[in-house]
Symmetry: C2
Subunit: 471 residues, 2 copies
């Protein structure tokens, strides 16, 4: 990296907040995605939006890349450097700027840890629902840039449903303010939504106003085991068809259940094909009615065994079983690749069976769990990066999984983002016209392509896989 | 209009579906906004997206304007021609394309009447919440392009919260598909949200996939009268502070109540300063609890008189009182100008008082009603277009009302859109950087500025008004 650039950036941010030794840079050369690693040139911790604006101006002048990074929990290589450049950290920008109980909003800096925000508002009887599995370490800024989902998405939606306003430093150094605390605002284009999920490719988010809702008073959790995937999937469809929208409706397949039980020893039944985790929250009377009805529906659809958690502790244990799924699977093999192919929920059973068929076809080990109510599955491949031959089969299997999801009316990514990893597949979902529109938008914001390059847009789209077997 | 253009368009759409006589064009020279009128060159009723794409290509070639138009209920001159051009009607594109009870979505053509869609899904136990006051005649396409609100926005949000996917004909004739039925999808930028509320300036929406939710089983309505605006506003804040989010929380001031009572003779108290209409829906037990609690809060905050509707008929009568507010006021004077300045709900009382002060200062007659829970007010000026001197005062008063809303952290338009009418004020809200970003987006989609010109972007921003008296 140009010495002048380093000097200019150091002058803006202060030497204390700059990392440039190889050992330091290494720590920011990868994220939670397997198989992607490249060194940045510099890692900085600016103190405010104005400093970021100055840094961006310098980077724009010298055509240096900017990689905004929260806690690096990204699963699509969205925060891995592409061609060196400056990683921006938000560890000094983690404050609550405004908490407005009357208007039910909170304005925060991007570096605040997601769970800390949730805990803070819950202490005031309020609720910020998006709960990505990484929430204990992920930042709200990262959640916004990836439009993160979570276990409560079915009832409460995802991050974008709660972002009401943003402050964004644009690639030209302008500081844009969008939206605000208002319940309704139609003054111009919805720029807020454009930045949510843009994966840092259009600007650097420096402040976020979020909508809050009243904290539900009561919740109740249950599980149901099934001897067939179809029974579990039919239960999911039937719950929705009965006009119940539970807060959580999660699915674990046999392999995932076994891995979790092996890891946690909490007494899960491991001789079943599928498990559903069902939770409702809200007013007590309604919650009890919904959970009983969901259990009845599960039994009607052939559940082998159902259980309503008798207290908060038991409920927490059941939910932890789901939350640790990835960690439990990660114990089994050196490399774990977690995907998030998503289908309309009516296609859930078909999709799980397709994944199993593809897993067999390519002789790769795939366990599947995920947000059944959202049709958002996490086929998780247990493999080993060092086994090059197997890695080729893994890649081919995932390409076919994306193709299968698309053929069922689904998408290549439900909640993880496109990043660098799925960029070559994006055109499969949105088509050449969609890609063209997105490229034009990117171009107008960031003509020098300094903002998180290599993400979302691929140099080349992957050749499509021919999939046999229709919808 | 160029004869060749007319011939080409006639060839695409068919002579039967073209209107071009002056009498016919006159009917499409205005919308529901007072004081805006200009003739189009042609009015067409295409049959599908492909025809629209062909028409747009011709218009792009000859630099002719396109004005997409639903039922013309727009209140910001969003559907009034600007420099002639082709008005596109959707009366032949009003079909339900797909109703998916398992995934809780419905895909429709833009021309379907909003209320017809609601009635259809409600017959299946499902619910599409956005309910603009014009829903009996407005189209879903218009609602999407304006991101319409309504009376149920506080609890259920606005149109954009339900749009999951779009088909849009772009100004270059490309047909773009965005989103879909999926509960979660983060494949690329959120193009869907960019078109919602874009007022037809970026493309022509030709199909819409909407999210549905289960129909609430029960609802309960009540009213509360107050002798002061502050008491009413404090009630609103206190309801939210007590963690109750009612479906409807509407406000009518003294002038509006009188006009409605005069119009409907339903026994409203006319010797009070303000009335709140409170409604909750959901599970019976919860609804009863919430409504009783809201009534208690109203009484605690000095309500003179409260009443819970004893049955559906009485509830309907109360709600009709709110729904007819505009029609009732319209009876009083030849011209009615309805605005939608919006503030954070905590600033409601201040805003109503500012409106009253401004009304006195300019000696204009303004009645105010609106969505109190959303901070979305409808100051409504009763005037006469033919009185030029008064119209100048009306314009000055509204400019000061916008300025007052902004100084309280609000916006110039909560749910009506910018259109041509409020375009000169947009920069007051989003600033020169916001305008610049929006202009760049417009430019990249529509370099020839054929899509609904004169809307959103003004030739010149109004000079700002100096407002005395702070927040």
């Amino acid at each position: 990296m140009n010495k002048t650039v380093i000097e200019k950036i150091t002058h803006i941010v202060g030497e204390k907040y700059i990392k440039s030794s190889t050992a330091q840079l290494l720590a920011y050369s990868y994220d939670a995605t397997a198989n992607f690693q490249r060194l940045p040139d510099l890692v900085i911790s600016p103190g405010n939006a104005e400093e970021i604006a100055e840094v961006i101006k310098v980077c724009n002048e010298y055509k240096m890349s900017i990689i905004p990074r929260g806690s690096g929990t990204n699963l699509a290589a969205g925060t891995v450097p592409y061609d060196g450049g400056v990683v921006i950290l938000f560890n000094r920008m983690d404050q609550i700027l405004n908490f407005d109980k009357e208007n039910l909003t909170i304005t925060v800096q991007p570096g605040i840890i997601s769970e800390n925000l949730c805990t803070f508002v819950e202490a005031h009887g309020l609720f910020y629902p998006p709960d990505p599995s990484s929430m204990r370490i992920s930042t709200i800024g990262g959640n916004v840039s990836e439009n993160s989902g979570g276990l409560r998405g079915l009832k409460y939606g995802v991050t974008k449903d709660y972002v009401k306003g943003l402050q964004v430093v644009l690639p030209n150094g302008d500081i844009l303010e969008t939206g605000g605390k208002l319940a309704k605002d139609v003054a111009g284009y919805d720029l807020t939504s454009l930045f949510v999920g843009a994966e840092g490719t259009l600007g650097v988010v420096t402040a976020i106003t979020l909508k809050l809702i009243p904290l539900p008073q009561y919740k109740m959790t249950s599980i149901a085991y099934f001897e067939s995937l179809e029974d579990a999937a039919r239960t999911v469809s039937s719950i929705i068809a009965n006009k119940i929208i539970p807060v959580t409706l999660e699915f674990l397949d046999k392999k995932t259940i076994s891995a979790v039980e092996q890891y946690m020893k909490i007494g899960l039944s491991t001789d079943v094909e599928a498990m559903l985790l069902l939770e409702q929250d809200g007013e007590m009377h309604q919650v009890e009615q919904d959970v009983k009805e969901m259990v009845r529906i599960a039994e009607e659809n052939g559940a082998l065994f159902t259980q309503i958690a008798k207290d908060a502790q038991e409920a927490e244990q059941i939910k932890t079983a789901r939350r640790v799924a990835l960690s439990a699977l990660a114990k089994l093999k050196p490399t774990v690749i977690l995907e998030d192919a998503t289908v309309p929920r009516s296609e859930l059973a078909k999709m799980v069976m397709r994944i199993n068929d593809i897993s067999e076809k390519y002789n790769v080990n795939i366990a599947t769990f995920g947000h059944a109510g959202d049709g958002n599955l996490h086929p998780t491949c247990l493999t080993d990066l060092r086994d090059e031959e197997e890695m080729h089969r893994v890649e081919a299997a995932f390409a076919e999984i994306f193709e299968a999801a698309l053929s069922l009316g689904g998408t290549i990514t439900g909640e993880h983002g496109v990043g660098e990893m799925k960029a070559p597949y994006l055109e499969w979902k949105i088509g050449p016209i969609g890609i063209n529109v997105m490229k034009n938008i990117k171009q107008t914001f960031d003509p020098n392509h300094i903002m998180n390059p290599g993400k979302v847009f691929a140099k080349e789209t992957k050749k499509r896989v021919v999939v046999h077997g229709g919808n």
